[in-house]
Assembly symmetry: C2
Homo-oligomer: 325 residues x 2
């Protein structure tokens, strides 16, 4: 089968279409004829040879497609349209998915739209609710509002618990789109200090939850922005990892909960439980269009290098999709 | 009435017995004839004028005694023996306690023993279970095992969820006592690197939960000691607050949950809910002596300066009590 692999760890130019053996399934797994795959930052880390936790030489951690073959101990029928997280191997004609992570695609969605759902909606769901414990009517600060996880988080926070949402992005076009998804306060970080805005719209009390993709460069402003007893979820380090000074008294005095997380390296069991909870609480809202996958651009399979370059340019709003079949 | 107040912010020599007005109760409160009060580190911070969150000029955040008067909307009878957290004012002949924080003293305990329970057992209960989410059979690293909170945490972790307990202390006498309370592995931090011991007894996986009273000076070793997905609860800074460098990638890669907490400044509602949960899950174990208050020394009311000096010398195992009546 055709699949995308990496010649040498490095830039997008290292991505190639190669011929790989069609994968075989074990008990509890499904073989999927892939229709579409989505690009994620973790794929870039893998392409650069820096991830260390995916054994599969084929990139890609999420797909949509049709079940071609079902192993023992699975309860999804051959022919079903599904989407979900895979343990690598998503950029390919066929992929293996654990059956307890496969999600039946709502009828109103195309395969390209479906491929835009699993990674970002599950990540946003996990960070907002499992780690952030976001409660009804609380305030959440979502950075990188135009990103894949950002656009998913804005929708989930509004539709599931009616949170007050403050988001940041670097262009007015992105912010306008964030507002259309449900963001209440939109801050262009190039024009305004977001911490001042957070304090002004929360009567100086701050945000209950912060989704932080940025890390070091936003640290002090995030600290100013968080409420006493706030939950600060660290899911990316686009602004660097190293703080030159860290005062633990600040963590104690504000009783902050700082939680680092990554979804891809987590266990199969964790992903299955997360998928189950997501299917129960969020999936029905896709059918009635309260939640919508956000597709920025669809590339063909042989445009994989351009797809990666597009993500690295940070200009996308929502997901970048590769059409496989 | 007689009460302990502070002449000038400073050392133990600033503590004095003074005459203060007998407090008056409002709806939802009880007036307690105090039999015993306990010394806490937060009292030292208050004595030094550094706390900022207690308005009462009389020190002391926990008492045992007899209900002398009950306000409206309370359901504890006059004459009941109770213990619990007060909002300051504990070192006195009479103290006010919100009724929903008063705990009926089990019949087998003296007032001095009862005064040794609320602050340390509620703090340990909160950190282990509400914040640390310690689960059955998990491993917990409890620093300062001979301290008030340490001795309470060892007992709660063993009796409530049968955790594997690793504890540190600075003398073999303290460690021997920790073992008698249920600690499985006892490390004298003056003789051995505790992180090496934690890794060796956990097959290199580390501890699920860390109770950290120390902060900066133990930071790197605690980081080595914590398991992936571990919960690191920061409840004291005896080893300093400032880290010179902090790498957020470490927090993400290990998916650590770092949670700062303090009990005294929390809301009345929080303390009431915590007390309710503690009474339900832990209090019955005091009656059957599965849990025991640990009293290091009982001082008389006019020995208050010595009582503070004793705590500051760090030689106590368990609680330091002041007998009021």
């Amino acid at each position: 089968m055709k699949a995308i692999t990496v010649k040498q760890p490095g830039g997008p130019e290292q991505l190639q279409i190669s011929d790989q053996p069609k994968p075989e399934i074990k008990s509890g797994q499904l073989l999927v004829k892939v229709k579409a795959a989505a690009i994620n930052r973790t794929d870039i880390v893998s392409r650069e040879g820096k991830s260390g936790y995916l054994a599969n030489p084929v990139l890609g951690v999420e797909v949509s497609g049709i079940v071609e073959e079902a192993g023992e101990n699975t309860n999804i029928e051959v022919g079903s349209p599904i989407m979900g997280l895979v343990n690598g191997g998503g950029y390919a004609e066929y992929a293996v998915i654990p059956a307890d992570r496969a999600i039946i695609i709502p009828k109103n969605l195309s395969y390209e739209e479906a491929a835009a759902i699993p990674e970002v909606f599950l990540t946003a769901f996990q960070t907002l609710f499992w780690l952030g414990n976001l409660q009804s009517e609380e305030t959440v600060l979502i950075h990188a509002g135009g990103s894949g996880v950002g656009t998913a988080a804005i929708q989930l926070a509004k539709q599931l618990v009616n949170a007050t949402i403050i988001t940041t992005a670097g262009s007015d076009k992105k912010l306008e789109f964030c507002r259309s998804l449900g963001a209440d306060t939109c801050v262009n970080y190039k024009e305004q200090n977001f911490d001042e805005k957070v304090l002004s719209v929360t009567d100086n009390s701050g945000a209950d939850v912060i989704l932080d993709f940025i890390g070091a460069s936003y640290w002090k402003k995030n600290f100013q922005s968080i409420k006493v007893d706030g939950r600060w979820i660290l899911i990316g380090l686009l602004g660097g990892a190293k703080l030159e000074e860290f005062n633990l008294m600040e963590i104690m005095a504000k009783r902050i909960q700082l939680k680092g997380t990554l979804l891809t390296p987590r266990s199969d069991q964790y992903k299955a439980e997360l998928t189950r909870d997501f299917v129960k609480k969020a999936l029905p809202l896709f059918s009635i269009e309260k939640l919508k996958p956000v597709v920025d651009h669809i590339f063909s399979f042989d445009e994989i290098q351009e797809a990666h370059r597009h993500m690295e340019s940070n200009k996308n709003i929502g997901k970048i999709i590769v059409k496989v079949d």
